[in-house]
Amino acid sequence: MLELVSRDSEIPERDHDVASSPEELLERVAEGDREAFAQLYDQTAPRVLGLIKRLLKDHSQSEEVTQEVFLEIWQTATRFDHNKGGAASWMLTMAHRRAVDRVRASQSSRDRDTKVGIRDFETDYDSVTEQVEIRIEHERVERALGRLTELQRQAVTLAYYGGYTHSEVSTMLHVPIGTVKTRLRDGMIRLRDELGVAS
């Protein structure tokens, strides 16, 4: 029993004595519990910021968007539906949507050189992370992406990590927009199957 406890606590948490799951914390946040909110922030902010910064690149802009996301989490925690997935999923979905909104809002950042842009998104992918869990997910996703056709992979990567619309992707990759739509769909379906996402 003791062994189990100590082994368990080694993995997920570094400095908190007792770690509550994001779902438990979110339930308390929904009751207006500010301390739970602070804990939830500490647990999840690096991931939220990581994803946002992946799209926006600029650190201070990314922190601004992270702030918007956490305010939204605070406001809407009361409406979080446990039946529709985990708390971290909910938060990351929100983070991605807001990052995309921000990318679109700042039109100047759209003038990135197309080719540099594509290379960026792909090489970024090699960076190693210390956290085992994330590294495993990272490798899994990387392997799955490697099984897509090049066009599928570029389209999916530019859309998700670049925040580009499918018509922008079409311009960047010099392929008709209808093709991009199809590649985004069959690429995602392929990823879904490779990653074993069941219905």
């Binding site: 207006g32 519990d33 991931r47 910021l49 406001q75 809407t76 979905t93 994330i134 769909r185």
Partner: protein, 283 residues
């Protein structure tokens, strides 16, 4: 593997829209396309299932990203801000399974000692956000009363956005609620319950949250109105099948607009046919 057989299952005439599930799950659609796709999604179980799976797949892309440590300043800024940021009222009707009940009972009996002064007695805190000076209500109601005497040319009511349900709030709603300039006002509904209007002047949009509103017979609907001076515009109808819901108003909101809610025949009216049950004035 790639050209999945499911494409053909989408209906007799597979439209261009049906092909957008991938782009949708990656947030790669323009606003108009997203709206069109969501409407299409509402009609098809098959598309909804596919989208749910692809959303989850997209999430794995997000989870694979390397975390970035935020600055200490960000943490304190956010924790400061929540002190002045209201939370949405809970929806009582749906999704209250055993888990929800256990939380409320666990949290309700006493503001537990363990969390110290950080844990506020929630019902009071919530009440505070929904209590507004009575004078505001009177003023707004008077303005509405004045107006509802005369006829006006109105936008024809439009069908309610199918993406808006009692359970989950729409992306539009969360965007308004989390806008940096969001403001709110609340008022009792004359037939019971509370209505709260949240608006963002920057976004020119607003969302109304009904809490404990009476359910209407199926022949009736709540209808929302934007009222400014002598102009009254329909802002959509609300089918309140549950007594709590969050609804984004259709059309642009201007600062100072009053939002009125009336009970109308199903499908909505071109102009209000009954007295408003509540009026909310944006400041």
């Amino acid at each position: 593997m790639s050209k999945h057989g499911s494409t053909s299952g989408f209906g007799p005439h597979e439209t261009d829209t049906d092909n957008l599930s991938g782009a949708y799950s990656l947030n790669a659609l323009s606003d108009e396309e997203r709206t069109a796709f969501e409407a299409r999604m509402a009609e098809s179980d098959e598309i909804r299932t596919e989208v749910a799976e692809l959303n989850e797949t997209a999430l794995l892309l997000g989870r694979a990203v390397e975390p970035v440590q935020p600055s200490a300043a960000l943490r304190s800024s956010i924790l400061d801000l929540i002190d002045s940021t209201p939370q949405l009222p809970k929806l009582e009707a749906e999704g209250s399974d055993g888990r929800d009940e256990s939380t409320t009972t666990a949290a309700a009996p006493a503001p537990a000692e363990k969390s110290g002064e950080l844990l506020e007695p929630i019902p009071l805190a919530r009440q505070r956000w929904f209590m507004r000076p009575a004078v505001l209500l009177v003023g707004a109601a008077a303005a509405v009363g004045l107006f509802f005497g005369g006829g006006a040319v109105l936008n024809s009511p439009q069908p309610q956005n199918p993406g808006t349900s009692q359970q989950a709030i729409s992306a539009d709603a969360s965007q308004i609620l989390a806008a940096s300039d969001v403001e709110h006002t609340a008022s009792d509904i004359s037939t019971g319950g509370t209505a709260t209007l949240y608006w963002s002047s920057a976004l020119k949009r607003s969302v109304v949250v009904l809490d404990g509103a009476s359910a209407l017979p199926s022949s009736k609907t709540y209808q929302l109105w934007y009222i400014k001076g002598s102009s009254v515009k329909s802002a959509g109808t609300v089918s309140a099948s549950s007594n709590s819901l969050t609804q984004v108003l259709q059309g642009d909101m201007a600062k100072g607009d009053t939002v009125g809610i009336t009970v109308e025949p199903n499908g909505g009216s071109k102009q209000p046919t009954t007295k408003p049950i509540v009026a909310l004035q944006s400041a």
